[in-house]
Each structure stands twice: as structure tokens, then as C-alpha cells.
Symmetry: C2
Subunit: 489 residues, 2 copies
């Protein structure tokens, strides 16, 4: 458990006048005070963090978000923007009594252009609903992730969600063409362009992509969606060692080239865990156990060409000894079952007991060394499980134990962070920093860069009401009345 | 000609002590005072803008850039960062006597990882040299543009250069993984990550991509380069009308899907101009004249598959009447000759006389309406030439006349900008704003957004020494001693 910060005394507490005001602008339905609903909204998906907010607001328009923030800023009421609340670092729940602003009522698709593939929608749209909508139009979302059934596009953008298709379609910094965001003082920034190219001034939308709601609340998004190509294939493969996994990746990039759309890996510990804890899953390669499993997805426009490429690649990989076994999904049901293994790992980990989760970017050739070192450190005390987006250099390192135990945590941290920093990796590849890692930012960012982040936070949100205690370390963001820390550089 | 601003009186003038200081840190060779060299560096590629700087500095390291800026900031000496000086909006030359900082001596490739395709290099590397280096390694740059022989990667990144491959590989906001930049006060920001995914805090590198050197000087770049695929094909096609061009684009996106790597267009006026003014070029479709020409490039891993896709696509397009003629390049020489037509248009325009250049993003279905309206306005007074990156919605509108004439300019501006603004387009798709369009930003960006840009400029460069008079309108950036304009919102 991360050390909990102290409540910022300059923040007000919600009073009955506030409630009256919010009901006036949002109506009764937009102001939630019921304990049960608040309990859900105060608790994160991992049930690791819990806030004590007494109030959740559900605006239906940008104008309402603007009114809420203008009011909260003038009253110095802290707020936490919340989407599907599927984050893994305690970024989407209140730490104390912050007002929760949930965007779920802003869930309209505003426009879709079938020629350009540009989708404009409100921030509260659930990712899976957008995927279904686009499917009917012959397009796909450029991102896909396990939490798609509940996560919202505004949260995806605010946390720069990565997921399964990044290797093909790149990050949201590339595919988000525009957005609308509301600043702490209620100012609405209309940057909702629908152009692929626009070099008129600083491209400020990037400040809001991945800043976890700490600079503004994203209310609308314009996103470039790729056409749905008719041929999708999925292979479930096995390798005897990690070196083979890496070589297979290099070979896939060359041989599958333009049709490669996912390259995921899981180790034997992850596989065993999923088969043990999730119902109805079968080992696609049951004849023997393997140390590593790889999922390769290809997406292309011509089935016969893709099959030919994939089969040639697999044949060559078996002949050269890179692969020890493998199977191609024969239909969409089998493909879903394969994906369910990879996507079910987080759920299986939750069922297995306590879990310490780390989401690291590392040079691929070093990545698995960390897993093995960790196993050496922890011995029989814990099950060290590794999986992730090998094609993007992104390792999900999970340490599964019966229960949370500080003596185990001290063996993991700061070791994992120091190891990652030493290899110039990122201590958060895609999950963000949230509450869990706000004070750990220096492992991945220089002092000067963090200082500039703090200066920008102070510029955009001088009262610090937006998602406090998250993303940036308290040492660079003095609370009002405290002395400013001495600047480096 | 854009209206010239007034020199900011708070800036100092270079004196002999300054020269002594710069020679001490850079050596004699790094301090250029020769009139001829300065004349080149003071003049832009279009010969439309001319500054009067008496000093050009050529640092060899980030440390030297830092020392220069620290000194200039303390002395309040304005500077203009300069790369290959190939910009088209007066962004890379001094307006008055700003000190020119040219990065050409920082031209080392620092590392290249053949597994991940990540290249790290200094900002002064010439794009074409990087292309050649990568070619030997089996990779390509994710951007390619006509000026590649002289433009520098630092300038490309600082101006968020687009070019010919954006349709396939996206913008530099996606492919630049990290950078190092020096702020006005000499602070070095090390954001030179080499990771595809890194969600640790605000992704500040994006502030420096496309801000035209007005927030900091980019000194190093880390960039994701795609593998060179073995099969490249180029088709030179003809359409009878603009509607057919658009339909062809939609068809290409679906039928060529993952192998489409460029979709460029030129109209008959552009074609005639190139054939008239450039030596050694031949019409690839000489049997008759056509209203529109399209270049389609495909890039894939398997020659036979690509040829099959391309031939099927062309056959279908001819049968459905979208194409009136077309030819496939038979070898690399013919492909070069086809590209030379498209890439030679700016040069042909320069040879034809005076030229008013506009670089617009527009919804593709509206794009050519503007060209026709402009022809209607100008009649026989001017040759209205249109070409560009149709696949990205990017029109290069060029108005060619015998000589510059204010009576023609008043017929073009503000009409072109107003028309673009009305259709929610961008008045600068890829060229940036520079000096030419700094005061035009409101046609494409809201007041609130521009105000935030100005606030960020003041935060990062309080003395305003970095590339003054460019990018942002003087109305939002008061000079020292002047009163601040009243804030909107």
C-alpha cells in the first residue's frame, strides 16, 4: 500500500449550500449522495484504495462540467474526475473527501465520417460501445484493452491508455486528433479538431492526454479510427525460452510486416494461474507445458495473402527452432477463447489472493531478467507472474501472494523501481502514476522535467483542486500557505 | 508580404563583449560574422523574408547550446534557432538582429537499435543522411519530404513536419519517442526516452514538437523508425474530376488497406507548370491531358501480394470509371521520375515568378471548392495551382503571378483564411505559423486556447528571447514594459 498523503487543509468541505447549488444546475438525478453508489465510486477496481467522498456529480454537458468546476474552484473544493473507475494506480478514486465528477451521462456519439474514419464523441462513451458502433460502420477503435466493457473513452484519453493494438496503431498521442477539456476555473478549451494535420500554434491537446485529469477534465474526443480489414488471424504459440520470444518478435516484424497487429506474451506462471482460477478455459496447447506463450494477431485486407504470410512465418519459425508448438484459431470462437486467456490474467490474479502490480517499459532484451531476479529474491513466498505487450517493450510484472504483507513489499520496492530506472525504463508504461506512484516519478523523469510539470500544473490549476495527491510528488507542489520548495536547475 | 512587427525594445544588441564571450565557449569556428554566410542565414528559402542578424553561432553540443541560451537570456539577447532554413513561413530566419543559432554542427547519430528500430541522434542531422543511414540498416524514416536534402531533423521535429508518409506512419507526435531540449534560461530538459510507452507524468515533449523553436531548442531526438519492407510500388494515375479523386481515395483505403503508403494529388495546372519549368521531366501519361493526377505508393513485405492487390484495385477503378488512365512504375528510375513531378512543384512555382503559398487542412470533400472559388476571384490575373496530400486532407494552394502585387494579395487574403476557418480547417496544415501567420492563428484556434499558449510561452520563456515575433500574435504576448492585454474567459 502506498503511503497516504495528508489532506490539504486549504480545501473546503462540501456543505449543504454546495448541494443546493449543484442540484440547481444538475437536477436531483445529477447529484448522488446514496451511500451504496458512493461506496462503489470511492473504491478502486483492485479494492486497494478507498476514499470517503460524500458527493458524486454526473454532468450531462460540457457547460455543466464548466459550471461545476468554476464553482468548485471558487469554493476551493477538490474534485476527482472519474470514468469507468478501472484504473490500477488509485488515480480515479478520491483520496479523502474530494467531489467525484463522473462523466457517464455524457455518452453521445456526436459524429462519424465514413470517408476519413474520424469519430467525435463525448468523454463518457464506454469503449466497448464505441467498438460496436464502429464495427457496424466498417471501422475499428485504434485501442483495445481488457477493461473495455466499463472504461470510458475520456478516461482512456486522460490516462493515455495503451492496450493490445499499440504495436500497430500507435499511442493515443497519434490517433486522438482533437479534444475538448475544461480547466480548473471552468474555462472550456475547444481543441476538438477533426484534421489529421494542423500546425497552428502549440498542440496543447497533448497536455491532457495522459495527465490523469490533473490539468483539466476531458469532455469530448475526436479520434482517427482505422478501417476494419476483413482478414484477422490469431496464433497461439509456445517458446522454450525468453530469447526465442525475442527472436520471434524480430522475425514477425519483418515477415509479417504490415499485417502484424498484436504480439503478446505470458509466461508459464501466468498460464497456470489462468487455467486454475478462470472457469471454462482450456490450454490451447495441451500436449505439454511450455515456459512461454505468445499470441500473434494479424490484420489485413486479403485473407489468402495473410494466411500465406502467416503460414510461411510459422513454418520457418518451427524449422529454425524458435517455436516448440503452436495453433491457429480456426474460427472467431476459438480466437475469443485464446484472447480470454491473455485478457483474463488480471482477473485470475485477483482471485488468487493479494497482488502487487507493476507496469514497466523496459528494453525487451533486459525485460525478463527482472522477473527472474525477483523470483530469486522472493523464493517460495510469492508467485511471480509475467505477461504483457512484448511488441511494445511493456512488461506487466505481478507478484501474487496469499495476503498483503509489508515484509514482502519491502523486498519488492524500491528494488523494482531502482532496477527499472537503472535500465532507463519507465515505472509506468501505461497505467499512469495516480496515487500509487506519484512520489516515484523521479525514477523515470529528470528533476528539471518534473519541475516543469509542476510549473504547468500551477499555471493551469493554481488552487490544485483537480485530482489532488496524484501524478506529481507533493514535494514539488506545495500546498497553499506552505513555503515553495527550492527550485533545482 | 506579411506586415512586419516592430522590434522589441527590451532586447539588447550584440556588442563586442558578447562576441568575446561566444568565442570563448564556441571557439572561432563556432562564431560566424562573415557577411556572405550571414546573408544566406538571414534569407529564407522563398527569398520572401530577410533579417539583419550580424551573428550566427554554431554550437557542437547540448552544453554549448545551454551556455549560449543562459547567456542570451541574462543579456536579453533574442535568438532564432535555425536548422536547414527550408521553412516556408519565415520561421527560421531573424526578423531583425536576432542571434542565429544553427545546429548544423550537431550532426551525430548517437545510437540505433536494430531490434526496436529506435534511432537516437543530434538535432542537426540532415534528413536525407538519416534516410541513407537507415536504408543500410534495413529501416526507413517515418517522414519524407521534398526538402530532405537540406532540412535537419531538429527542425523537422520543431515544426512537426508532415510530408509524404504521414498517411501510413502518422505524425511526429506519434513517432518521436523522446527528445532533449534546452529552455530559454539554459536548463536542459532530458526527455530522451527510447520507450514506446511511458506514462510517468505529463508528456512534455509534445510542447516542443511543432512549437517552432519558440519554447526551447531541440538538441537531440529519439525516433521510432519502421522496418524497410521489400516491396514498394508506385502508380501514376489520372482522374477526370475531383469527385473521382475522392472516391479513389476511399477505395484505396479499403482495397489497399495496410499497404497504402502515399496518396498524393496534383491538378492540371500543377502538371503543366512542372513540365514547363523543370528540365528532363516527361508526362507519364502523354496520350492526353487530364484534370487530375494521383500518385499512389504501396509498401509491403511480399511483392507478389502487393502487385496482386494493386492490380486488382487499378482494374476495378478503371472498370468503375474512377480512373481515366494510369501507369505503374516499372523500376526505381521510373518511380523517381514520377516522384520528381510531385516533389518538383515548389521549385517549378519558384521559377514561374511570384507565388503566394497556402498550406491548408480541409475536409477532403470541400477542398477543391476553394481552388475553384479562388480561380473565379482571380481570373486571368493569376495561375491557381493545387496539389498536396489528399490522403491527409492537406491542400497546398499556390497562386502564381508574374510579380508580387498588393492588389492580388487583397483578393486572396483574408478570403482564403476566412473560407478555411468557416469550414473548421487549419490555416497551416504542416508549414507552421512562423512570421507569416502568427497573427492569423485565430482563424484556426479559439481565444481561450491561444491565451493558454501565451501563458505557456511566458512560463517557459519569460523574456521572450526564443524566436520572437513568430507563432503567437503580438497581441497576446506583451513586450516588457507594455501593459498586459485583458484576458478573455
Amino acid at each position: 500500500m502506498a503511503s497516504t498523503p495528508v489532506r490539504n487543509k486549504s480545501f473546503s468541505t462540501v456543505n449543504s449550500d454546495d448541494i443546493i447549488y449543484f442540484k440547481k444546475i444538475l437536477g436531483e438525478k445529477g447529484v448522488v449522495e446514496e451511500e451504496e453508489k458512493l461506496d462503489d465510486a470511492n473504491t478502486d477496481w483492485l479494492r486497494k484504495y478507498k476514499g470517503s467522498s460524500k458527493l458524486m456529480l454526473q454532468p450531462r454537458s460540457t457547460q455543466e462540467v464548466s459550471q461545476i468546476l468554476h464553482y468548485c474552484n471558487s469554493r476551493c473544493l477538490a474534485v476527482v474526475p472519474q470514468g469507468g473507475n478501472t484504473g490500477l494506480v488509485g488515480g480515479s478514486i478520491p483520496v479523502f473527501d474530494e467531489v467525484i465528477i463522473n462523466l457517464r451521462s455524457m455518452n453521445n456519439i456526436l459524429s462519424f465520417d465514413k470517408v476519413s474514419g474520424i469519430l467525435v464523441c463525448e468523454a463518457g462513451c464506454i469503449l466497448e460501445n464505441l467498438i460496436s458502433f464502429l464495427d457496424n460502420e466498417g471501422f475499428i477503435m485504434p485501442l483495445d484493452l481488457g477493461a473495455k466493457g466499463s472504461c470510458q473513452i475520456g478516461g482512456n484519453v486522460s490516462t493515455n491508455a495503451g492496450g493490445l493494438r499499440l504495436i500497430r496503431y500507435g499511442s493515443l498521442h497519434g490517433s486522438v486528433l482533437g479534444l475538448e477539456a475544461v480547466l480548473a476555473n471552468g474555462t472550456v478549451l475547444d481543441m476538438l479538431g477533426t484534421l489529421r494535420k494542423d500546425n497552428t500554434g502549440y498542440d496543447l491537446k497533448h497536455l491532457f492526454i495522459g495527465s490523469e485529469g490533473s490539468l483539466g477534465i476531458v469532455t469530448k474526443v475526436s479520434i482517427l479510427t482505422p478501417p476494419k480489414l476483413s482478414s484477422v488471424n490469431l496464433a497461439f504459440l509456445a517458446c522454450k525460452d525468453y530469447t526465442s520470444c525475442q527472436k520471434l518478435l524480430s522475425a514477425a516484424k519483418t515477415k509479417l510486416g504490415e499485417i502484424l497487429s498484436a504480439f503478446e506474451f505470458l509466461d508459464i506462471n501466468a498460464m497456470d494461474l489462468v487455467l486454475k482460477h478462470l472457469d471454462g478455459l482450456r490450454d490451447p496447447l495441451p500436449s505439454s507445458k511450455h515456459n512461454f506463450y505468445i499470441l500473434i494477431e494479424t490484420t489485413g485486407s486479403t485473407e489468402s495473402h495473410d494466411k500465406e504470410k502467416l503460414e510461411a512465418f510459422l513454418l520457418q519459425s518451427i524449422e529454425s527452432g524458435l517455436l516448440t508448438d503452436g495453433v491457429l484459431a480456426q474460427d472467431i470462437n476459438q480466437a475469443s477463447a485464446f484472447w480470454r486467456i491473455r485478457e483474463g490474467i488480471p482477473e485470475a490474479l485477483m482471485k488468487a489472493g493479494a497482488v502487487y502490480k507493476y507496469d514497466l517499459s523496459l528494453p525487451p532484451e533486459k525485460m525478463y531478467d527482472l522477473v527472474e531476479e525477483m523470483r530469486g529474491c522472493l523464493g517460495a513466498e510469492a508467485n511471480v507472474v509475467a505477461y504483457g505487450h512484448l511488441g511494445d517493450g511493456n512488461l506487466h510484472l505481478n507478484i501474487s501472494t496469499r495476503q498483503y504483507d509489508d515484509s514482502i513489499l519491502t523486498k519488492i520496492e524500491p528494488f523494482v523501481y531502482e532496477w527499472t530506472s537503472k535500465h532507463r525504463g519507465s515505472i509506468s508504461a501505461e497505467h499512469g502514476l495516480g496515487l500509487m506512484k506519484a512520489n516515484k516519478i523521479h525514477y523515470s523523469k529528470s528533476l528539471e522535467t518534473v519541475q516543469l510539470m509542476a510549473d504547468i500544473k500551477k499555471l493551469l490549476d493554481p488552487n490544485g483542486i483537480l485530482n489532488p495527491y496524484k501524478v506529481l510528488p507533493t514535494s514539488v507542489l506545495p500546498q497553499r500557505g506552505e513555503e515553495e520548495p527550492k527550485k533545482e536547475a
